[in-house]
């Protein structure tokens, strides 16, 4: 699966969506749309949130699944929350 770039490789600013297309009828929509906040996170952080969601938000279960301790997983979640708060500003 191709990795979605979210940061400009030239100036490191967050990228915008300027074109969307339909793979079925080839309709193309052009414009300027912001990336949703979750997509602005790193793929690793997105995977973590996805796992967390699938395990009904249980930090203990996710710790067991990824083989890390509870405080390590809680710290990871806190760091992601901090990043999201920064992105929301």
């Amino acid at each position: 699966m191709k990795k979605l770039p979210v940061v400009c490789p030239s100036c490191e600013k967050t990228l915008m969506v300027s074109q969307l297309s339909c793979s079925n009828c080839d309709t193309v929509i052009s414009g300027s749309y912001s990336l949703p906040i979750l997509l602005q996170l790193s793929p690793e952080d997105q995977d973590f949130i996805f796992e967390f969601f699938l395990l009904s938000g249980s930090l203990k279960d996710i710790a067991k699944k990824i083989g890390k301790s509870y405080p390590t997983v809680r710290n990871r979640l806190d760091d992601i929350i901090e990043k999201i708060n920064e992105l929301q500003k």
Partner: protein, 193 residues
């Protein structure tokens, strides 16, 4: 391997760490009694003429209590979500390397060498001090420094994981906590044990 030796707190559950911590506190106390080593302060280990399992166990309990008290207060200040159990496991597990230092006194080796070195205070007896005793004490001193660094590295990693510490303030608080724990443990061990 590096994780087990320096960063076990990142991987293992609190249940595993409590079992390992309690087991090694008991083993360390037994070793202390067997080789006459007392842990009479958070950062101390001294060889004495005689001691008992309970005396060494109380030393260790006081040391762990003092470490937990000050590190938990600092960790709570850094991050309110810090759990007591994570600081307790950090204190218990980090002390494991220190317990192995008592092996230096197998057959009273270090006690005898230290006694001989103590004669240095009497200038007339200097010539009687053997080179082997000097080398033994210096070698043990160097090994002790390695074990002390290992102990502090483990303790800091445990503290860091428990409190999600970042930046310089937590390092300063950590150092302050260790120093306060050392002072309190010395006082408590002196009066209670």
């Amino acid at each position: 391997m590096k994780t087990i030796l320096f960063r076990p707190f990142e991987r293992y559950s609190e249940k595993t760490l409590v079992i390992v911590g309690v087991a090694f506190t008991l083993i360390g106390s037994l070793l202390g009694a067997a080789f006459q080593g007392r842990f009479d302060g958070v950062l101390d280990m001294h060889f004495v003429p005689s001691t008992s399992f309970y005396q060494v166990l109380i030393d260790n309990a006081i040391n762990i209590f003092c470490l937990v008290l000050f590190l938990f207060l600092s960790a709570k200040y850094i991050n309110n979500k810090t759990r007591l159990i994570d600081i307790l496991t950090a204190a218990m597990v980090a002390r494991i390397p220190y317990y192995f230092m008592v092996f230096g006194n197998i057959n009273n080796t270090m006690s005898k060498a230290s006694e001989e070195i103590m004669q240095l205070v009497n200038p007339e007896m200097i010539e009687q001090v053997g080179t082997s005793s000097l080398l033994l004490v210096i070698g043990f001193g160097l090994i002790s420094i390695v074990f002390l660094i290992w102990y502090i590295a483990l303790l800091y990693n445990g503290f860091k994981v428990a409190s999600n510490a970042k930046g310089n303030t937590p390092i300063a608080l950590f150092i302050l906590s260790i120093l306060l724990a050392e002072v309190l443990s010395k006082v408590l061990i002196h009066y209670l044990n």
